[in-house]
Symmetry: C2
Subunit: 483 residues, 2 copies
Amino acid sequence: MANKASSRLEWRINVPDGTSKVLEPESGAVGKIWVGLKGCMGIIVWKVWRVLEHAWHIGVADPRKVIHCIKVGLALSIVSLFYYMRPLYDDFGGNSAMWAVMTVVVVFEYTVGATFYKCINRVIATFLAGALGVGIHLVAEQSGDQLKPIILGISVFLFASAATFSRFIPSVKARFDYGAMIFILTFSLVSVSGYRVVELFELAHLRLSTIAIGTSLCILVTMLFCPVWAGCELHHLIHQNMEKLADSLDGCVTEYFKENGSEKDLNKKMQGYKCVLNSKAAEESMANFARWEPTHGRFNFRHPWKQYLKIGASLRNCAYCIETLNSCISSENQAPPCLRKHFSNKCMKASSYSINVLKELAITIKKMKKSSNIDVKVAEMNFAVEELVDALKSLPTTHFIATTTGEESTKAKVEGVEGSEYPSPITKVLPLVKVVSLMVEITTRIGGVVNAVEELARLAEFKAAKDGKPKQNQPTDKLVSDH
Amino acid sequence: MANKASSRLEWRINVPDGTSKVLEPESGAVGKIWVGLKGCMGIIVWKVWRVLEHAWHIGVADPRKVIHCIKVGLALSIVSLFYYMRPLYDDFGGNSAMWAVMTVVVVFEYTVGATFYKCINRVIATFLAGALGVGIHLVAEQSGDQLKPIILGISVFLFASAATFSRFIPSVKARFDYGAMIFILTFSLVSVSGYRVVELFELAHLRLSTIAIGTSLCILVTMLFCPVWAGCELHHLIHQNMEKLADSLDGCVTEYFKENGSEKDLNKKMQGYKCVLNSKAAEESMANFARWEPTHGRFNFRHPWKQYLKIGASLRNCAYCIETLNSCISSENQAPPCLRKHFSNKCMKASSYSINVLKELAITIKKMKKSSNIDVKVAEMNFAVEELVDALKSLPTTHFIATTTGEESTKAKVEGVEGSEYPSPITKVLPLVKVVSLMVEITTRIGGVVNAVEELARLAEFKAAKDGKPKQNQPTDKLVSDH
């Protein structure tokens, strides 16, 4: 307490002199460096703090990412300690621990599918390249010491070039990109090694076995502790995107026809379509990895993952339209309230039926059961859209074609009208016509999503939902129109 | 000749019996297997042929890919032969050749930027992890044989987990993903190695020097022989996408207002916007790599690559609208020819001015010189759009607001009209209104592209084009309207 008081006292004494002017004599070069260092440290600490905060949010948002990190640490600790406890440091063995550790580091991926893809590629490519390398070594050894380096060099050049080129072919890149790299690596390593062929066999055996240990450890750890299946992720992404799209559509139409100011929640809801627009790359990589996954949960080994990409494409198609719709809403040029009110009910009805269809499709995918009443909902949607189009048809009344064919007469009439208190009508109705026609286009594209989901249900043999039969006989059938 | 004749004779003799019935006794199990094998071989040969054909097309379309493969082969042959000629197979050296080969295989990428990214990440991560690993080893050694494996195991677990988690942070992933992996790898390898600390220093020195040899060889080969710069690729992609967008817009509008059947060339031209829609991932990865590239050609080290991403986003924004426009064109419900003819000129004019703007922007980026007449072209575009909107305004004539406020009276009137020979007008004009309003929206979005390109010109300090001054004084100024 006494110390504290004295320091406080000291400060108090210094304070009156502590203005910048008085401090100047003390802050020479050293002082400046000190201030600069403090500033730098402050910035670094602040930046590190920001990154840590960001990392914390990532961890909280998806705890599986934290679990993944723990899994990686676990697998590496196990393989490190295993080799540390009983080192195999004989002539070749110096490498063997390294190969196991390297395999774990390189092969362990976030999803099971990606881990499988890398494991299988690594084992097969190592085996093939090893066998080929030993073969070339045999040939080179028999052709004398002079020719040997030439043969080896040419073979490395040829095979490395060919394997590198194969990585540019899309179908190879999607499935065997990592394998091609490992092929080049192993083949070059075998060629560059100065061992004799007999030694090579022993080396190959050791390397394959350590890789096998590494890969099987990875597969065990990735599958046993909270596995993240690429297929499940893709499945989840698709039905979540469908719900986001429905929410966006709902938000957009509500926002357009609402009578009060914008709500914050609504604005956030409306932005969901942007996720759909940007999810192509994620979908493709997940579908690629999902192919390598064994049967898990509700998904077979040969689950039609490609069809998910088609559903994703059809969703993006909808999202393009919703993006245009969204820009209509934010444009300044709006239809007059009386017109908007006139269309509000019909447009809201069409959008809510469209949303019903999207949500039903999302449930179909989520539960992996054929929906019993999707046909009814599609019919309802089509019926509502037809009503909307009818309402639009009934807008202008007469003399339309007659006036447009003669441009001059129209102009004259318009000029006459402009002076009066009636504003030019098409300008007023234009924003509304845009919204309605986009709404119609969106329902057409939702039809595309319905087809894609039905194709998925057929390919993946979805079972009918339990409550299928009774619902089909419900009186909602009366809404089914002839489209 | 005699042989040939006899074989031909034999065949001729066999032919009459060679029908399927006669051959049956011969084609037992062996025959079936033979036929099956032939079928399998045929399929395999056909598939391989298809892949080769595809590869050939890829090579022809972009010979730089073939050159890249040759470069990889060359770098690998050089490093392999270098180590084969003077092997460093002493106590630690067994690994050293391997590290150089591995570095070349793993680090050599298609673009200079990607190669730099991997090289710099690899060297720094190896150095950091090596130093940290040796430090932990020192601590562990001093705490006795019992505690050593525990300390090593825990440190591997902690650092591997932390480094793995850092790869989930977007800013780290974009710049240091590969570095984080190499950090984990090196740290684990140092920890698992049973060497004493003095040996470790020697090992670290050897490993760092081999990695340095590998990386510098890669950088030399990638920069000296036909370098592919990620920055140039991004630059090229952006202005090419701009041209594709202009062509798509041109194709769409021409297709809509054309009077004859569809042309094949036009159809292909129209699809250009799809490239723009799908180029986000490519743009982002190229911008990431471009940051690592040294000054080359017209690009400085600190060229504003991020601004290219913004231009890309604004282009995609336009592409969404063109996508919707494209679906309007293919819809069956078309406006009557007289109406289309009425709007044809104005719409074509607006689209051709928009295309002019896009092409001018593409040239601005291509030549990296400020356009002298972009303002004029934007004004022309705005003027043409204004005219188009005016033409649209002048379409319906009177009594519009009056009829829409009273729904019932409208309906009555419509029913009255439906019986007559005038079809309901809004249905006829609807597709056209859609096209025109999309055209207007597209020009608004082109405005966004103009802003993004101007920002790039400011950030990258584009110089003014040589023919700047005279053009600005040209009489085109009269077209500049007040927007």
